[in-house]
């Protein structure tokens, strides 16, 4: 779902590995098509995230950064978070939020900050 320049992706229940890979490709294509600046990945109804699914989430975040967008993972269940840590999966670059509303707020802040940096760079070039 498109929300202005953000993409809201809700993962419903459990998904197959092949579906996870398809999701990754679809997201990359949609980012390019709509020139989106942020992804909200809602995983609040996902009861199990194993190392494969965790890697898909990490990859979504990395790919979005390469395409000038940020990813915020929303609504990870507490038991899933504890299990991922004990499994040994690290997600150092993942931005998270408790719910969609706070996720949107965080993404908008990130995007505004990036725009300011761009404008400042532009300003410097103009004065040269």
């Amino acid at each position: 779902m498109k929300l202005g320049n953000l993409l809201l992706i809700t993962i419903q229940s459990e998904i197959y590995d092949s579906l996870g890979i398809k999701l990754l490709n679809d997201i990359a294509e949609t980012l390019e098509k709509h020139n989106s600046k942020g992804i909200l990945l809602d995983i609040s109804s996902v009861p199990i995230i194993d190392s494969f699914m965790g890697r898909i989430i990490n990859n979504i975040a990395s790919i979005s950064r390469l395409m000038d967008a940020h990813t915020v993972v929303v609504g990870m269940q507490p038991a899933v978070a504890i299990t991922l840590v004990e499994l040994g999966l690290e997600m150092p670059n993942i931005l998270t939020a408790i719910n969609v509303e706070q996720g949107i707020e965080l993404l908008n802040k990130k995007i505004t900050k990036m725009n300011r940096i761009d404008e400042a760079d532009q300003g410097e070039k103009d004065t040269d």
């Binding site: 197959y16 194993d50 269940q77 899933v80 299990t83 499994l87």
Partner: protein, 135 residues
């Protein structure tokens, strides 16, 4: 030790994999494990099931509810007739992988359960047993 309930599922594809994972969660809930313990045993099973599909061309999963004195436990046994694990020590090293994965499967799964046992014979197959107890 008393066998209270047993389910056997043949794993050949992703559909069986998700179905088996669902049954692990269902039986974990049935013996009254906490949400966290249910999530841990189901995630550990998921790692082993995936190994079985990738390296063992599928196999059989046996999920058992076990009674021991007054406590109950859930045992998950994954058997395949694949190529086996050549170096078990290496396979348990975090980050070691033969298929470009993260190499978290075996060591991660071991970390998530109360008891873990791996038997593997080259070119004959692998059996992994996971066990959690209701506290």
């Amino acid at each position: 030790m008393k066998l209270i309930k047993e389910k056997k599922i043949r794993i050949k594809n992703e559909n069986d994999f998700l179905n088996a994972r669902g049954i692990v969660k269902e039986l974990a809930e049935e013996i009254g494990l906490s949400i966290l313990s249910q999530t841990k045993i189901t995630t550990a099973s998921s790692e082993i099931l995936r190994n079985m599909l990738i390296h063992g061309n599928g196999g059989i999963i046996i999920i058992r509810i076990i009674g021991k004195e007054t406590k109950k436990g859930l045992e998950v046994i994954c058997e395949d007739k694949g190529k086996g694990i050549p170096d078990k020590e290496l396979a348990f090293q975090k980050g070691f992988s033969t298929n470009k994965s993260l190499g978290l499967g075996l060591p991660g799964a071991k970390n998530l359960v109360d008891e873990f046992q791996l038997d593997s014979e080259l070119n004959k197959g692998t059996v992994v047993k996971l066990m959690v107890w209701k506290r």
